[in-house]
């Protein structure tokens, strides 16, 4: 029995136990960082930290049911059609890893996840798989990057901490010093994708503007890919100085799809989320440094 089948059977079994319309907490634990719950509801399995939804997967088909931003994390292919090494910071329910392993089985993946409990839950309840081409490192993302000698074609940032009041970017993963470190671990055409929880206007716009401004201080080009289903924007920093347009990216996407480099359904649609213009609040956004990064104070103040 392969793992997908097991996964589906496990899903069906847990569905059969409850009325399909009701949410059923199938596992919960308090780790050093969060109260973590695995909840099955109406055909989906959800990973929850302190009540939030970190990750979601369809029980019937694990390749679906994830949040849209996971697909936006595939845009690095537009800048590098021959990626072989990808680093993901943040495991969660393993949606990003699952998609990469399925659609690009030849890519070497490294995942860095801080919380050992998340690693075991992700493996058991979300079928995160460690293979010869996917190694999970249980440590802090910045500590990992600082110590590794490896160079990556893409670094995908999806590390969050969650409280009752919402999700927070760990401040040390969003400063000039961090992005400088990340850029040093990228190959020549390397791309850094940052999943930022926030909207272009309004909700958490200050955080988004600040992360954008801080990335622009390190990467020659930064582009935005806002998700349509949730308040997430994927910021894409490229080491390439070349400016791009939507037309150019669509052309690249079409050729990636034609050559079967990218087989992710909807890839062309995701590429069209592209936005070249910086966030409107850029002028008053603050550059974040190790020395000064008020991410959980000034920047999240909803009253401002």
């Amino acid at each position: 029995m392969n793992s997908t089948t097991k996964f589906v059977l496990l899903g069906l079994a847990s569905l059969a136990l409850v009325q399909p319309s009701r949410a059923q907490t199938i596992y919960q634990v308090t780790s050093a960082y969060h109260h973590i719950a695995v909840v099955d509801r109406v055909g989906y399995r959800v990973l929850s930290f302190n009540g939030s939804w970190e990750s979601r997967v369809s029980l019937a088909n694990p390749l679906t049911g994830h949040f849209e931003y996971c697909e936006l994390l595939h845009v690095p292919w537009l800048w590098n059609p021959a990626m072989t090494n990808v680093l993901v910071v943040g495991l969660g329910g393993g949606s990003t890893q699952r998609l990469y392993q399925h659609y690009y089985p030849y890519v070497n993946l490294d995942t860095v996840e801080l919380d050992p409990a998340v690693v075991s839950i992700s493996k058991y309840y979300f079928q995160a798989q460690e293979t010869a081409r996917h190694k999970i490192h249980t440590m802090d993302g910045r500590v990992y990057l600082r110590r590794t000698q490896k160079k990556y074609d893409a670094i995908l940032m999806d590390a969050y901490s969650t409280s009752r009041y919402g999700s927070f970017i760990p401040y040390h993963l969003a400063t000039t010093e961090f992005f400088t470190l990340a850029a040093a671990n990228l190959t020549e055409n390397g791309v850094l994708c940052y999943n930022v929880i926030g909207n272009l206007n309004g909700f958490r716009a200050d955080i988004l503007g600040s992360v954008y401004k801080t990335m622009r201080g390190v990467f020659p080009q930064v582009w935005l890919f806002p998700a349509s289903d949730t308040g997430n924007v994927v910021l894409v920093g490229t080491k390439s100085k070349e400016p791009v347009t939507l037309a150019e990216l669509e052309k690249r996407a079409a050729s990636l799809v034609k050559d079967k480099v990218v087989t992710l359904p909807n890839f062309d649609k995701r590429v069209r989320a592209f936005r070249a213009a910086p966030p409107a609040n850029l002028a008053r956004a603050k550059m974040l440094t190790d020395d000064y990064a008020p991410v959980d104070g000034l920047l999240t103040g909803s009253g401002r």
């Binding site: 960082y33 050992p116 500590v143 401040y171 190790d290 008020p294």
Partner: protein, 208 residues
């Protein structure tokens, strides 16, 4: 008058300890990663510093009986704190880099490294600041009959200072000042406390 000055001294001492604890945790986070072990270490190390400071502070108070002696402790502690932004990054870097690159750091060191880092940077200044309370109790207590009231007032003032330090650091300082500036300001404050001890010296000496 001297009582008020002594109470102010322990209040500001308690304040400075908690600024170092809260801002220090933030400072260590970028090098040791995820907040949990950093917080555990920082709280543990500061409590060790307080415990040692109370112990030695009390003994030194009996032995020297002069507020002047505290200036000799506070001045180096102030200079040390003032210099944290200059020496601490390199020190912490050496601590983190001692593990072989490209192999995961063993979990036990992921837990203990932040405590070692915290001890190297924060143990000494917090230890010195903790000596103030028992020392002041010795100098202020004129006779055995009022030791209860004197020690109560000193504890209360020192803890009240700590309370203010926690909230000011977490709610205000982090949002408006850089970590380096906060450390330097705390260093200057500690030097000012050394000065205050010198002023107190002639006033309190006759008490013994």
């Amino acid at each position: 008058m001297q009582t008020a000055a002594a109470i102010l001294l322990v209040f500001l001492g308690g304040f400075a300890v908690m600024v170092l604890e809260i801002i220090g945790a933030r400072f260590l986070l970028k090098d040791f990663g995820g907040a949990f072990y950093v917080w555990t270490s920082q709280i543990g190390v500061v409590l060790v510093a307080l415990s040692l400071g109370y112990w030695f502070g009390g003994r030194w108070a009996d032995r020297f009986q002069r507020a002047r002696f505290l200036a000799w402790l506070l001045a180096p502690a102030g200079l040390f704190t003032l210099a944290i932004p200059d020496f601490a990054p390199r020190l912490i870097d050496a601590l983190v880099s001692r593990h072989p690159a490209d192999a995961d750091i063993p979990l036990v060191w992921q837990k203990l490294d932040p405590a070692l880092g915290s001890a190297l940077v924060f143990l000494f200044p917090c230890f010195v600041l903790a000596t103030l309370s028992p020392y002041m109790i010795r100098l202020l207590a004129a006779q055995l009959g009022n030791v209860g009231a004197v020690s109560g007032a000193v504890y209360a003032a020192s803890t009240a200072g700590s309370v203010v330090g926690v909230f000011i650091s977490g709610y205000v300082l982090l949002d408006h000042l850089s970590l380096s500036i906060i450390f330097r300001a705390t260093g200057v404050l500690t030097l000012a406390l050394a000065g205050l001890c010198l002023c107190l010296d002639c006033r309190l000496v006759r008490k013994t």
